[in-house]
């Protein structure tokens, strides 16, 4: 095995470009398929609207949505109308909430995994809270934190917190016992074991949690905005709804969808770089 592999290794660079080319070809193929399905969906949507003569305040045609999207985007960045200001507000609040929730989630998940008493004390509440649909707490949060950014950040943090706490806990607890034995044999301190072995072991779980938590943070901010805030994309949606401008509602949803995809891809890219070793065969 060693002999064979050692002699194979220098070949690797030659093999790679061909493999890379194949990978790109496969990627282009998949992209084409995705695009085709999108076009088909838009066509179906358009057909439904014209066939059943749906009024625009029920289901606007794709063209109307595109129009609304364009008029919301074709304004100066600091314009009082259009999507930019509400979007910026929503994204900033979600991001702040996400970071707070993620940091607290990773910290509490780690503490629970490391210290049994903390686990014993916190676990029942954690599970109870997790079972609760946290969106239902939003009115309470608004009472406590007001209609400003405080409520939005709190909701975002609250929703991002749980997937990270649970995933960090699970990730640390499933650390390979052999790696722990190694650290013990090396007389590593508890902190060293956490830092060099447990936290990296949990990294794939933590990234999965970040991926989920990010969407949840956005959701949390939107819910808080729905409950009577002054700014944000959630406010833009409720305002459009109030005047039956369904096309603008759709346009906002499209934007949120695109942002969600963009954030997911960003996290995936970071994950790929940071934990490039994950999923490769071990030993």
């Amino acid at each position: 095995m060693s002999a064979g592999k050692a002699e194979e290794l220098p070949l690797a660079p030659e093999v790679e470009p061909a493999l890379g080319g194949m990978r790109i070809a496969a990627g282009v193929g998949r992209m084409a398929l995705t695009l085709a399905s999108l076009v088909a969906l838009l066509a179906l949507w358009w057909l439904c609207v014209t066939w059943f003569k749906l009024p625009p305040y029920i289901l606007p045609s794709p063209l109307r949505v595109a129009n609304a999207l364009w008029s919301g985007l074709a304004v100066p960045l600091d314009s009082q109308v259009g999507f930019y200001l509400p979007l910026a507000s929503t994204l900033v609040n979600s991001a702040i909430g996400f970071v707070i929730g993620a940091v607290l989630g990773i910290a509490l998940g780690s503490l629970m995994a490391e210290f049994r008493p903390i686990e014993t004390i916190v676990m029942p509440y954690a599970f109870a809270l997790q079972a609760l649909p946290k969106v239902a707490i939003a009115p309470l949060i608004v009472i406590w934190c007001g209609f400003g950014d405080g409520s939005k950040i709190t909701m975002a943090a609250l929703l991002a917190f749980f997937p990270l706490m649970v995933n960090t806990f699970t990730g640390i607890r499933t650390t390979d016992p052999e790696r722990l034995a190694l650290m013990r044999a090396l007389a590593a301190t508890r902190l060293e074991t956490y830092r060099f072995v447990k936290l990296p072991s949990a990294a794939p779980y933590i990234f999965a949690g970040l991926d989920m938590g990010m969407v949840y943070a956005l959701l949390g901010t939107l819910v808080a905005e729905f409950l009577g805030a002054q700014s944000g994309i959630g406010v833009a949606i409720t305002q459009a709804q109030a005047v039956s401008d369904v096309a603008s509602v759709f346009a906002a949803l499209v934007l949120l969808g695109l942002i969600g995809i963009g954030l997911h891809l960003t996290i995936s890219a970071v994950e790929h770089r940071v934990i490039h070793w994950a999923g490769r065969h071990k030993n």
Partner: protein
């Protein structure tokens, strides 16, 4: 056991003290259901500085348990176990351990993996890289010179295990403990690793305690081969191996003493595992 007389000579004569001395040690595990599992029972074993001792025995006879005790990863249930005269109370810097799986950390490069023990022992573990020179030198010795910046998944099984041996040696311990280090490798790689290990041992003169399932490997590598009984593990016999060094597979495995020893050990193992059914 043959040096059993040494251990009574008193602790003041440090020069003559065996490096590892086990006196009647036993280990009893408690299972989750509360049952007692006697892994090893009353083992006496004395290992001198610089010895290469191999342990063979049937699966589940307590070989790993014994090694974990010496490594300070577990505590003896009864008996006395000393390392360089002092009772074993926990993991020691004087002991390097190699597991059956290489157990390299996949998020660290080979260089970082091998340097980890130094980093842990240093005052400031954030400052990696002080000992890179030493680590690179060691990697060169085992033929991994060009692989220090690779990640473990880029290495073959044999190369990973060589890196793991480097990691065990990097703090320059007195004792190297190896629990079936080559068990996961194919026969050919395994033979090459045996020759390699012998070379490393001859150069460094560590005391080595190696567990293996392979009688051939045990006789090829060891100054002594200790044969254990089925669980609860006891020592059946301690065979001295007087084959000349450096040994190589072509000559050593055809040597009459080698053949004689492997036959005797196999017979002893067969006989004892027959007893098990009693």
């Amino acid at each position: 056991m043959s040096q059993g007389a040494n251990k009574a000579t008193g602790e003041d004569k440090i020069a003559q003290q065996p490096l590892i001395a086990a006196t009647g040690i036993s280990k009893v595990y408690r299972t989750v259901s509360g049952a007692r599992v006697e892994a090893i029972a009353g083992i006496d074993l004395v290992i001198d500085d610089g010895d290469f001792v191999c342990i063979v025995g049937p699966s589940g006879c307590g070989k790993s348990s014994l090694l974990r005790l010496v490594a300070g990863l577990d505590t003896v249930t009864s008996g006395r176990l000393t390392l360089a005269g002092a009772p074993v109370r926990g993991p020691s810097r004087e002991v390097g351990m190699v597991f059956q799986n290489a157990t390299l950390l996949p998020w660290m490069t080979v260089l970082e993996n091998v340097g980890l023990p130094l980093r842990l022992a240093s005052a400031d573990p954030d400052k990696a890289g002080d000992d890179d020179g030493l680590v690179r030198e060691l990697l060169g010795v085992v033929g991994l010179g060009g692989f220090s910046d690779k990640y473990p998944y880029e290495l073959s099984g044999g190369m990973q295990q060589r890196a793991a041996i480097c990691r065990a040696l990097v703090r320059d311990p007195k004792v190297l403990l190896m629990d079936e280090p080559f068990g996961a490798l194919d026969a050919l790689t395994r033979e090459r690793m045996n020759v390699e290990l012998q070379r490393i041992w001859q150069a460094s003169r560590k005391t080595v305690l190696l567990i293996t399932h392979s009688i051939a490997e045990a006789v090829f590598l060891g100054d002594r081969v200790v044969v254990m009984s089925p669980r609860p593990g006891r020592i059946l016999q301690d065979f001295p191996v007087e084959l000349e060094r450096p040994r190589n597979f072509a000559e050593t495995t055809g040597h009459p003493e080698y053949l004689q020893l492997t036959r005797e050990i196999r017979a002893l193992l067969d006989e004892s595992s027959g007893e098990e059914a009693q």
